[in-house]
Amino acid sequence: MRGARLLTYFTKTRTRTAAVLALVLAVVGCSSDSGPVEPENSASPLRVRLMTGEQYTNTIAQIFGADISNAVAPPLPPLARTDGLLSSGAAFVGVTSDQVQQIQQAATSVAEKVVDEYHRDYLIPCEPVSSTEADAACAAQFLRETGRLLYRRPLSEDKVSELVSVADNAANETEDFYSGLAIALESMLISPEAVFIVDSAEPDPDNPGEERLDAYSLASRLSYFLWNSGPDNELLLAAENGELHTRQGLERAVERMLQSSRLEDGLRAFFDDMMAFDTFDSLAKDPVVYPAVTGATLADAREQTLRTVIDHVITQNLDYRDLFTTRKTFMSMNLAAIYGTPTTNGWVPYEYPADSSRSGLLTQVSFLAAHSHAVRSSPTLRGKALRELFLCQKVPPPPPDVDFSALEDAGDVPTARERLKVHNTNPACAGCHLITDPMGLALENFDGAGRYRETENGAELDISGELDGTTYDTIGGLTQAMRDHPKLSQCLVNRLYAYGTGGPVSLRYDRDILTNFEQRFVEQGFKVPDLLRDIALSQAFSRVRPDPVAAESVANENDELPSKLALN
């Protein structure tokens, strides 16, 4: 099976000779010294990404400590969700003058704290000869070390001298060594080298005529991918001494990162992004309808899902698909009222009872509440989210000239199913609602806040439906259909690769490598750490695609889906 798929790749690449093909087929199922076999031309584009707010905070925390990062609001703008990910929007977003001003203000705050008397002793590696005068040697030591972490590469000695001049000049003007140092630190914190993550290429000595990320860019790409933060000293050292460009060195670095507790930060950020949890930043429920749901409840709903995901995919290292059927989660006091269960203080592991209708992510409060209105549930929003977030399918927006008159007449029916039926009487609506409603309606046993209910307005709920050919008449039927959906793993692969390489995938260039990753993901039992490793170690991750494809429209494997389903 795997050999047949690989055969498909290589016939597509055209340039491979029969001899190479035979060799490759001979090693199917094994890893060569240079890693698993990849489509010949796999590579990714150079990108210039603006640091995200969370990356800024993580970076400041990593270099200067969490007490400083927590005291400064990240000055970066919100990002436009691009092909499913906010992080992909970072490759396109611009910085307004207003935002530059905020970046400067944050830099001032950070720098003042770093040099204040509570922090200077352990954040500045030397003491000046006099605290009221410039001290070039001490300034140079601090700026060289800190600059290397902020710019994610060593500073040239010319650059260090330039920064020391800034610090010296400022120290002389203010008659304070630490104020001078703070001004130089500020200038680093607002440098585009710090604020933007800029990929750089260099000729690839192993493949003449081709380019690869330089070692520091590769270190940054790995670090933001797996830790959602800049590289640490050890990773920079691996870049500095050339290790990252050897197979063994790269494997060692990636393995260390995968074993690090910081992997959790990275994966939390990824799943928070993929599941569009930024919605929670402004989510609220109508207190009249849902008096038990407060801001703390919703914050815990987000946290519950992230804990469930991290425990499942990292701590337990289980099959990704089982996230959609697992009965295991974590419970907090704020959530207990919504789930209708007793609990104790703090977060505790929790398993839904055997007779519970809940299983998997789709039945968690986070999904149910985020994709509802403030005052009621919405099968359409839930169905749309299910497809877009987890299957990478796109549901088109409603046409501008929809006639809603039929819906008005149906206003008094007791259930959403009856209300939405009227959409099917209008062909302009039917196409899209067929894509979303059957899945959303299967979750109607949960109200707009995610609480379980047997009936709606006194009427029994019919939760039967169909997901792309699989029919069901229970909630468990939907979650199982979701777990077994062929697009589920493909979507995760697509999103993780985009996340790792810093921008949307290209249907034109990335189709083969994505299929390759997906195949290995299947073979390795749908284990996320294995997929992370495969992506991080791949040629595609570090080789530079020569032609930028920024203008190309981003891939969407399923753009044609609505019309197909409408025809069914």
Binding site: L46, V48, A73, P77, P78, A80, F92, V93, G94, V95, T96, S97, D98, Q99, V100, Q101, Q102, Q104, T108, E162, L163, V166, N169, A170, E173, T174, G180, I183, A184, E186, S187, I190, S191, P192, E193, F196, V198, S200, D281, S282, A284, D286, P287, V288, V289, G295, H373, A374, V375, P397, P398, P400, D401, F404, L407, E408, D409, G411, P548, A550
Partner: protein
Amino acid sequence: MSKLSRRRVLKGMLNGSVVSIALPFLDCFLNESGTALASGAPIPQRFGTWSWGLGMSEAIFVPKKTGANFDLPPEIASLAPVQEHINLYTNFHVFKDAAPNLCHHSGWVILRSGIAPMTSANRPGETIDVTVSRKIGNATRFRSLSATATGDVRNSFSYENGNSVNVPEWSPLRFYQRLFGTDFQDPNASEFTPDPRVMVRKSSLSTVLDETRKLNKELGTEDRARLDQYFTGLRDLERRFDLQLTKPDPREACIVTDKPEDLPSGLDAYLVAKRHRMMTDLMLMAVACDQTRVTNMFYASAFSATTKPGYDKPHHTATHEEAVDEELQCQPNVSWYVRRAMDEWAYYVEAMANFREGDGTLLDNSLIYATTDQSFAKIHGIEGIPMFSAGTAGGRVRTGLHIDGGGSPGCRLGYTAMKLMGVDVPSWGDKSNNTSKEIGEILV
């Protein structure tokens, strides 16, 4: 009366909300005619925008009468206290030409940028506030300020270009800290000592500018444009540092209020109103303290999801799903939402009208341009999309009028506003939205 005692009195009284205070005006702040500050500088002109979501119920929104003393149909009845300060513009159009009608997008984008967007993610050109801020936003600490009453940082109707939205302040507490935190220089402080750190901060910028230039050379076209924009931002920063090194003119109306409480998330109309009023009060104080001369206040997003307590449909859903009541000539709940928006527009205008400055008010020296995203949201209509203005822009605009546009481009109001703010452009808008015709009826 000393400056100090007056400030002490006002500080005790304001406490986070705008109120009208009849205090004797201090002549020391003004020239003899009361039109300029004591320093000789004229009271600055301000430009602002205000926005609400989902248009109107035409039958009960558009007055029967045009010109002065127009009638106030039920949906805009709450504008009575401010009628003399505003103009209402109806029967103006936005034109999509070959572009599609993009729900809740085409309308506001055309009125703010003059250009019909081609996709719902497309933000063509730049918004009018950005254009105006280049002209009048260079002498203040902030080129412009934006704030939203939705509590959602993603809701903005202002952008520098397609990839660069001006992010609104969304939390009253955060907004307060940004305005009146450690970087705030009180214009009425008796002493002014330039901060030496600002001087060195400014000189250190040259190294960052050099780095940006150097980095720029290594990038492709699109990324170079992004770095250019960053470079422009750094240059702008240089200008703001210069301002920090210059003694600000005293501002009699500038009274820093106490720190506001923060508010929970949510779009309950009453919570949104509370947030809107807190953000408005802060914004107007920022203007009075001359921290900015260009403002954007967003009452609702384009797909307004404001909720009515106990009613199961948010505003946007209701526009599509609620039936029109023939007797009331509107969708009753939808109209309830629009009326709440009009309450807040009235609050905004009244707050400006009550804010004393010189021998007049903040509103006398301002022009506010208010827009929405649809005319009749139920069918995503954009024809006859309503607009308002408020203020006289220094006595140059007649107010209290209802203007019938006769189907002419809505961009005429934006064009008129730009001309009033000194932006020297021969015309504004793209294709059918292009106009070089001001709305003459409102000009003095």
